[in-house]
């Protein structure tokens, strides 16, 4: 054994490492980014959950209730209140996912307060996100406790100046859960489906594309009369077909493993295919734009991990977007994963139908159009 030979190998490897910016970048930036993104993506204080308030009572009592509710909202800003005039409108938006819960003050609330006849408030929640559900339900229960402490059980209609010790609750909070309990594996499934599409995009649109380019295979196509738009659309659509195949497979296998109810519902499967199609096109166009000027085969491999962290975790796949700091929310707004995960959750956890996914489909389609246009603009038809 000769030390010189060992050192020669060490020198060789170190020189190569130091000359490869992509590898350097990923080895330094990847762990840091993972620390920061994951650090803020998990277990953050949930803020800005949209809650619908429907006040059918419209009296001083219900106003008092709403003011207290607003006071809670203004404090830690956990919730954001939207006033609705009718319970049916609110329910439609709850099912479509525009609000996460409804606080319903029925028309007989003030009469029952005056009668001391257990006035009721209904709390109807979208319980598909357990993190959000537990946060807002706790707030709601605190609110009701607070109200109950301020009401005089002995003289209905009179306020107490000094809070009494806790008594039997006068206001009854009735909690309605819209969906069966969602296990975390069901919650995670949407992210995993989106991830499978992303991996196909990464391999097909990133690694294979750059490898073919560096092997000179593209030169063989560039000498033919194909235009760059034709070439790019061909590459993107083939990538999208592969993405849809992967996404569909993971939807079925993952759906069976996670125990999604009525997985074979044909209408939902149809919508799932639409979501998977738009997601695939968006992901592959995104990857294609990133890689359009890259020629070093190490680059896509090196940034794989970085992209994975940067796109998957901020998407709301593992923890609600409402728990993120502002900058992470910013990423989630421009992250195609977010809309894919949102639409997949709407379909798989709530079976919302088209109204729960159309905004995501519009955004993903718009996103794809912009990315393809940019790719065509940046693609070099010449060598």
């Amino acid at each position: 054994m000769k030390l010189q030979r060992i050192f020669a190998i060490i020198e060789r490897d170190m020189r190569k490492f130091l000359r490869s910016p992509a590898l350097m970048m990923s080895s330094m930036i990847f762990p840091l980014m993972q620390l920061i993104v994951l650090g803020y993506a998990f277990g953050g204080k949930i803020k800005g959950i949209k809650i619908a308030v429907v006040d059918e009572d419209r009296t001083a009592y219900s106003r008092d209730l709403r003011e207290r509710f607003d006071a809670i909202v203004a404090g830690p800003q956990t919730m954001q209140v939207e006033n609705y005039n009718s319970i049916s409108d609110a329910t439609i938006d709850l099912r479509a996912g525009f609000v996460r819960a409804i606080v319903y003050i029925p028309v007989d609330y003030s009469r029952r307060v005056n009668q001391g006849n257990r006035p009721r408030i209904a709390f109807i929640e979208d319980n598909t996100d357990n993190f959000v559900t537990s946060e807002i339900l706790t707030r709601m229960q605190d609110l009701v406790k607070d109200i109950n402490q301020g009401l005089n059980p002995f003289q209905p209609g009179q306020r107490l100046t000094v809070p009494l010790p806790r008594l039997n609750p006068l206001v009854d909070l009735q909690v309605v859960e819209l969906y069966p309990y969602v296990e975390y594996i069901k919650y995670l499934l949407s992210g995993s489906i989106a991830m499978s599409v992303f991996i196909v995009a990464m391999i097909g649109g990133g690694i294979t594309f750059i490898d073919d380019k560096s092997r000179g295979l593209h030169e063989g196509y560039l000498v033919t009369p194909i235009t760059k738009t034709e070439l790019i659309l061909g590459l993107i659509l083939s990538g999208a077909i592969k993405g849809m195949m992967a996404g569909t497979t993971i939807t079925v296998i993952g759906g069976l493993i996670a125990g999604i109810d009525r997985l074979w519902d044909p209408v939902r499967l149809f919508y799932l295919l639409i979501v998977l199609g738009t997601t695939s096109v968006a992901m592959i166009s995104f990857m294609f734009l990133l890689m359009v000027r890259v020629s070093d085969p190490l680059v896509p491999r090196a940034i794989f991990g970085v992209l994975n962290t940067l796109l998957y975790f901020p998407s709301g796949a593992i923890y609600p977007v409402e728990g993120f700091p502002v900058w992470l929310r910013g990423i989630s707004y421009i992250d195609p994963f977010t809309y894919a995960v949102h639409a997949l959750k709407a379909l798989l956890l709530k079976n919302t139908g088209f109204q729960g996914i159309y905004s995501d489909i519009l955004i993903l389609s718009g996103f794809s159009i912009v990315l393809v246009a940019l790719s065509v603009a940046f693609f070099k038809r010449q060598i």
Partner: protein, 332 residues
């Protein structure tokens, strides 16, 4: 349109600059319809850049090129329809079969399924790949891939073929096979071939005319025979004698056209402007003087001499560009 029916390619003051480096310096030449035209030069001479400009892969910095009557800048699509290109790197898809490679290329050129069904088996047959038609190209040797690529480049019946170092990296058997193919192509009516090479024997054997390229300029352009004649040297007559007399060197130096005579370990080198004449004179003199000639041979002017004469350098076989490119990321 300046290209006439007799000229397949017209290149006028074509220049390519990469930053400060001028790869091709205002080169002009024409290639006649039906000829095999060779660009001969060492690696880095600018051959590939020149071919890429002519095949629309690289935009020229200045100057013009008309290929098949189409301007490479203003009518790139017209050029692409008229030409077949075999780039230097192996560009067939290893993950596809030979037939699939052919089919996809045929579709890129807009061939109908009837045309594909007729042409593809024909072309595969002509390059001797019929029995490998449905094998993955990844399992092919370099020579087989090159032959497939030549067939692929012919699928749309182009008027002009560009072959960039068609035999670089191939073993001698494969080289011969590729040469035979090119000779066959030359015989098929009307096809013009432009090839680049850094092999003298290849240029000599295949080309009707040769342009010698060095440092981005054309240093000479003519038929191989004319190029050899243009070099003012020398045939070398090499001979061995039994017991030459003492004045033998002086005798030989008096022959017509002889420039110098050297002797080393019994082997004589006579450099002369006319080998055959010198040999006849040598044989006559040796018989008259009773000197037994054990061996005599004449080495005529080769393209190596031509290259040396025009560039001042030997043409060496350097590492091929395609190999360098494939692993370039490892050297960054």
């Amino acid at each position: 349109m300046t290209a006439t029916e007799t000229n397949a390619i017209e290149v006028t003051k074509l220049k390519k600059q990469f930053g400060d480096f001028v790869a091709v310096k205002e080169v002009s030449f024409t290639v006649r319809t039906g000829e095999v035209f060779g660009l001969l030069g060492p690696n880095g001479a600018g051959k590939t850049t020149l071919i890429r400009m002519m095949t629309t892969l690289t935009p020229p910095t200045s100057g013009a090129a008309e290929v098949g009557g189409h301007n490479v800048v203003t009518d790139a699509d017209g050029v692409r329809h008229a030409i077949g290109v075999i780039p230097q790197a192996l560009t067939s898809d290893p993950e596809l079969t030979a037939r699939e490679n052919m089919t996809i290329h045929a579709k890129l050129y807009g061939l109908t399924s009837a045309e594909r069904a007729r042409l593809i088996p024909q072309l595969l047959e002509s390059v001797g790949l019929t029995e490998f038609a449905d094998k993955l190209v990844g399992s092919f040797s370099g020579g087989m891939r090159r032959r497939l690529e030549i067939a692929r480049g012919l699928v749309h019946s182009p008027k002009i073929m560009f072959l960039d170092e068609p035999t670089t990296g191939l073993d001698p058997v494969s080289r011969t096979a590729v040469w035979e193919m090119i000779t066959k192509l030359k015989e098929s009516a009307g096809l013009t071939i432009l090839l680049t090479t850094h092999y003298m024997d290849e240029a000599d054997k295949l080309c009707d005319r040769i342009a010698i390229v060095d440092h981005g300029t054309l240093v000479a352009l003519d038929t191989p025979a004319q190029l050899k004649d243009s070099v003012p040297t020398v045939d070398i007559v090499e001979a061995e004698f039994d017991h030459p007399p003492a004045d033998w060197k002086a005798t030989l130096e008096k022959f017509g056209g002889v420039a110098s005579v050297t002797e080393h370990e019994g082997i004589w080198h006579i450099s002369t402007t006319n080998g055959p004449t010198t040999v006849r004179e040598l044989m006559d003199t040796a018989r008259d003087r009773g000197v037994n000639v054990r061996r005599v041979s004449v080495q005529g002017t080769t393209l190596d001499d031509v290259f040396l004469y025009y560039t001042g350098r030997q043409l060496r076989d350097e590492a091929s560009d395609s190999v360098k490119r494939d692993v370039s990321h490892l050297y960054k």
